[in-house]
């Protein structure tokens, strides 16, 4: 059972307090976008054995969504950060690449 740090209320919350919300940094496709772009947005998800960027909500706590960089195989957590961003902050990317040189996330380096 994971423990993640909520970047809003500062609590180290146990998984029973949290709801998982799937992949982070999805880019919403909508009216005017191609079927392919819409399919990508709606259905295509990363399924990594390794570092994953994902959404969590401190549902039974402060109620805020936050994002998390976590290794799905070892469960190492590289950091959590607020949801109001389109990419992971530099310090978390640095922590990941220190352990996984050349790591990249989708089109973002």
């Amino acid at each position: 059972m994971l423990i993640l740090h909520c970047p809003y209320c500062g609590v180290y919350a146990e998984e029973t307090e949290l709801h998982a919300g799937g992949e982070a940094h999805l880019k919403r496709a909508t009216i005017g976008d191609s079927d392919e772009a819409f399919e990508e947005y709606l259905f295509m998800r990363e399924n990594k054995k390794g570092v994953h960027l994902e959404r969590w909500r401190h549902a039974n706590g402060c109620g805020k969504w936050f994002l998390c960089a976590r290794d799905t195989a070892t469960l190492e957590v590289y950091g959590t950060y607020p949801a109001q961003t389109t990419e992971p902050p530099a310090d978390i990317v640095a922590a990941i690449t220190a352990k996984h040189p050349g790591w990249s996330w989708k089109e973002k380096a």
Binding site: G21, I31, A59
Partner: protein, 987 residues
């Protein structure tokens, strides 16, 4: 025979005899006995029958690894199957029954399976039950169901209580042997918060049994002193009868404490589940001895050498008068010496190693024990009890050299570290060729959130088998009196060249009856992966999870595959370590505490007035119907409908979701959320809205009202309130975080009542306080004011099709408001109605219901709700999805009304078959019913259905199937059955 000795038995208190019942027979034991030791003391070596062949089985081990000695324990509401005799302590009044036999343990008809063993090899399920096909249903499956399982299923509700307990520590030490005690002491002295858990009632583990001297002190003195030191530390908590069941992500640990299992007095909780967060976990879980694979190694009386020693030293029980010891390592010599010193006979030690043992061999020989080197057991003689062994060369094929009479065989195939806790969260193992065991690989530990190891292993669990090495591993340097040991020689088959006859009676997994020959057959048939072999043969899949069998099994597999043991690898270790009770997992979450119940402010009135309760949206309770004396539920529903349509009805609608959306961008936000326009809703007006998910599917519906310039109140379905609020927050926090909008779920802040029926206005006028005329509050408008002294928000909305007011009052005034309505309405014939009446009335009006007309695959267009899809908006959630070709297809099933020609009610879930079959050979379908009721208003069955091209087929007669196989004819009609022009609601 097995019997109680005059001396020895450090665990038992001979001054406290206890009486227990085995298969109706009264037996005696002592306080401190396990069930196994007490049974052995009564010469009851045979304790069960095996799963597949029903072979007689005796106890093999003395601890948690025991595969055979399982019993139905207790009676009535305290009955529980598959209880392990080696871990269950006896108490006065304990009742047990043996399992898996008919009619009795001694004589069992199922044992006939042994004669068919040739036809019941690995994978026989898959091979022999295929043909002929009809046999599966009528012959094979009933037979398998009859013979499957070991113990019986409890028939009564569990009388015991259970609880959870939360604990936090820096260091959790699992195991109270010398390694665990030393590790706990070290961490305790460092000032850390330490928890030490030991699964048995006793501390010290094997060191005490083996009589080791540590720094000149006896092991038991060393243990007593260390325990005393630990108990004196405020930062250390020590618990026995508390097993670490599993290690989980990020230092979460479950401890399984057994509080009353060993007591006659069953008051108080039976088990306590410790939910622990540990910064660091030290696994000091020891090692388990392995059996040897030889012919007849399952005959009662063949036991692990360490277990035979345990029974003598711990419980003063001899497992046999004449014990032959068979081994491939030095440790089993201790058993021979212990037995001899207790005055028992040891005709021989059969040592598979041609070089024999270290210095301990001389000690044994000095006591007059014959040591036979390079020898093996060819066969064990006996059926329900060992009568003798035939000796052969280990290097040969099993030609008998001599036969030795004995009634017990003590075997040792070496030791396997208990690496379960290391492995639960992904710790990897190394095969140690010299010690012939899997040991934790320190390079690949389980990782915590910080990427560092959070489990470490000390002592025998780490592969150290001498006392000095164990304590050194835990940080203590000591001197001991233990002699140096000669190396183990791995022996996976005894004798080495055993032919098929010997191999097919050499057991690996006792409980599931898996033999050496079965694993070899699996390998021969191509099951190369150990995980596949496990499932094909069921090796290690019994309640003991292969504690004795796994290593022997995969060694056999690797030999059969001509591979190495590390190449074949192990199966996955999963929690719990041994089975834990479902009661402990449940804790107090049962009966009324299983789930919270949400009650509206008027709950008590409903309950006192014939309410038939229905769970809605998970935790809410709503009234299905108010049943009066002499009425059936159906009568009540029909009465409520007729009265609402003719007079006036009251519905407690408090459970409907109410979410306030407020802020400068609230209108913009609601335009994205709903398919229709909400930003242009005028203050004081109501509008019915639809919400779709990004897949375009209809998710929730409800009436939205605008309270002021930047505040809206969204009504949702009862079940959809929490989800809709979460949905709003998700979009506001994660996608449109720069929009200025707040949301609040105020569902429980208001009590809401629908007053519906032609006389509804008269009731409110009687209450008085505000103008409720058509001109003052038109249809789809609302007003704030007071009604009969209550603070009220009055909405003119209708889900019943009648003149209807939905009045919200503060929750605290709800019960009083309800009473006031009943009083004011008495002269107008007011009657409350329940959810079923509400459902039928809305169906009569052709209103959809989320969850009936929708099922997560329905778009608004399917329900002819095009009018609610705004054409003015560029975007709303689900709009892009609805543009996809499949969603826009004219062939989608669409909502229509249907009326049976004979007036009957179509069955729930009925389909409209179409000609021909689909590619899977199933009948084609062209539609299905979504809502179907008897309408007391129309006095006939009415229904809504989704039908292919439905709206284009008005007047056509189609057929719905019935459960009895016949069909019912029904005509496609407009789904609005009642008051098509809305004249009744708009007055």
């Amino acid at each position: 025979m097995s019997t109680r000795l005059q001396s020895l038995g450090r665990m038992i208190d001979r001054s406290k005899p206890v009486e227990f019942t085995f298969n109706g027979k009264r037996l005696r034991g002592y306080q401190g006995d396990t069930l196994a030791s007490a049974m052995l003391a009564n010469d009851q070596m045979m304790m069960g029958r095996s799963f597949k062949y029903h072979r007689p089985r005796g106890v093999v081990a003395s601890g948690a690894e025991e595969p055979n000695a399982l019993f139905n324990m207790g009676t009535g509401d305290r009955f529980e199957p598959n209880q392990r005799a080696t871990t269950q302590e006896v108490f006065d009044g304990l009742t047990i029954k043996s399992q898996n036999h008919y009619p009795s343990l001694e004589f069992d008809i199922g044992a006939v399976n042994q004669l068919f063993a040739r036809w019941l090899p690995a994978g026989f399920y898959y091979k022999m039950f295929i043909h002929p096909r009809p046999f599966w249903k009528y012959v094979y499956e009933p037979f398998i169901r009859q013979s499957a399982g070991l113990g019986q299923v409890p028939k009564e509700k569990d009388a015991d209580t259970y609880e959870h307990f939360y604990f936090f520590c820096d260091v959790l030490v699992a195991g109270g042997g010398i390694a665990g005690l030393a590790a706990a002491l070290k961490a305790g002295k460092e000032g850390k918060r330490v928890l030490l858990l030991e699964q048995t009632a006793d501390f010290g583990g094997r060191a005490v049994v083996d009589g080791v001297e540590i720094d000149g002190k006896s092991a038991s003195d060393w243990v007593a002193e260390t325990l005393a030191a630990l108990n004196a530390m405020e930062n250390v908590t020590v618990r026995s009868r508390n097993m670490v069941a599993g290690v989980y992500d990020h230092g979460y640990v479950l401890g399984y404490e057994r509080l009353t299992d060993h007591l006659s007095d069953k008051s108080g909780p039976r088990h306590r589940l410790w939910r622990i967060r540990a910064g660091e976990i030290v696994s000091a879980t020891g090692a388990i001895e392995r059996p040897l694979s030889f012919y007849g190694n399952d005959i009662p009386g063949v036991m692990l050498a360490s277990a035979v020693r345990d029974y003598v030293v711990n419980w003063g029980v001899s497992c046999g008068d004449r014990t032959v010891v068979v081994t491939n390592n030095d440790d089993a010599y201790r058993t021979a010496i212990t037995l001899k010193q207790a005055g028992l006979s040891v005709p021989a030690i059969i040592d598979a190693r041609s070089s024999g043992a270290g210095p301990i061999a001389a000690e044994a020989e000095k006591l007059g024990i014959k040591v036979m080197k390079g020898k093996a057991i060819a066969k064990v003689k006996g059926k329900k009890r060992v009568t003798g062994v035939q000796i052969c060369l280990q290097a040969g094929e099993g030609s008998v050299i001599e036969e030795i009479a004995c009634d017990c065989v003590a075997m040792s195939g070496g030791w396997s570290p208990v690496v379960h806790l290391w492995s639960h969260c992904g710790g990897k193992l190394n095969w140690d060729d010299d010690l012939a065991m899997f040991r934790p690989n320190p390079e690949k530990p389980p990782l915590g959130a910080d990427g560092q190891a959070f489990v470490s292993v000390v002592g025998s669990a780490n592969g150290h088998l001498s006392t000095a090495a164990v304590l050194a591993d835990a940080g203590q340097t000591v001197t001991t009196n233990e002699p140096a040991e000669a190396a183990i020689q791995p022996v996976w088959m005894m004798p080495q060249g055993a032919g098929v006859k010997l191999r097919s009676k050499a057991w690996l997994d006792y409980q599931n009856d898996v033999k050496v020959s079965d694993v070899q057959l699996a390998a021969q048939e191509g099951y190369e992966s150990v995980e596949h072999t496990k499932r094909y043969t069921t090796l290690g899949m019994a309640t003991d999870q292969g504690k004795l069998s796994n290593i022997n099994g995969l060694a056999t597999l690797s030999a059969a595959l001509d591979s190495t043991i590390p190449n074949v690898g192990t199966t996955t270790f999963r929690p719990p370590y041994t089975p834990i009770s479902l009661g402990a997992i449940t804790g107090v979450a049962r009966d009324e505490l299983f789930q919270p119940v949400r009650k509206t402010p008027m709950f008590q009135w409903h309950d006192a007035n014939g309410s038939e309760w229905e769970p809605v949206g998970g935790q809410w309770r709503r009234t299905y119907a108010y049943v009066r004396d002499g009425e059936t539920t159906k009568d009540a529903v029909n009465r409520e409908i007729v009265n609402t349509r003719e007079n006036v009805g009251l519905l407690d609608a408090s459970t409907l979701g109410k979410i306030i959306v407020k802020g400068p961008d609230a209108g913009k936000f609601l335009d994205m959320l709903y398919t229709n326009m909400m930003s242009n809703l005028k203050i004081g007006k109501c509008r019915y809205g639809l919400m779709c998910n990004e897949n375009g599917f209809l998710m929730d519906d409800g009436v939205v009202i605008r309270l002021d310039e930047d505040t809206w109140l969204c009504h949702t379905t009862t079940g959809g309130a929490a989800h809709t609020h979460d949905w709003m927050e998700d979009w506001l926090q994660c996608e449109w975080w720069d929009w200025k909008v707040y949301t609040a779920n105020v569902t429980e802040q208001y009590a809401q009542v629908a007053i519906a029926g032609p006389k509804a206005r008269q009731v409110l006028e009687k209450l008085g306080g505000m103008d409720v005329s058509k001109d003052a509050i038109g249809f789809m408008e609302f007003k704030d004011g007071t009604l009969g002294g209550f603070d009220a928000r009055v909405h003119r909305i209708s889900f019943s099709g009648e003149l209807s007011f939905e009045v919200a009052v503060p929750a605290s005034q709800g019960a009083a408001f309800w009473d006031a309505l009943l009083e004011a309405g008495a002269e107008f014939g007011v009657m409350p109605y329940g959810t079923e009446a509400m459902h039928i009335m809305r169906a009569e009006k052709g209103f959809i219901m989320i969850g009936d007309e929708t099922d997560g695959t329905i778009i608004p267009q399917d329900l002819n709700l095009h009018w609610a899809l705004s054409k003015k908006k560029d975007d709303y959630l689900g709009k892009r999805a609805q543009e996809r070709s499949f969603m826009a297809s004219p062939d989608r099933w669409k909502l229509v009304g249907v009326e049976t020609l004979d007036g009957s009610v179509i069955e729930d879930g009925a389909y409209v078959p179409a000609p021909g079959n689909n590619p899977n050979g199933q009948r084609n379908v062209q539609g299905r019913v979504t809502s179907t009721y008897y309408s007391p208003t129309l006095k006939r069955g009415i229904a809504m259905a989704l039908v292919k091209n439905g709206p284009d087929r008005m007047g056509e007669v189609i057929e719905f199937n019935k459960e009895d196989g016949t069909m019912v004819k029904a005509k496609i009609v407009d789904p609005v059955f009642y008051d098509k022009d809305g004249e009744k609601q708009n007055v």
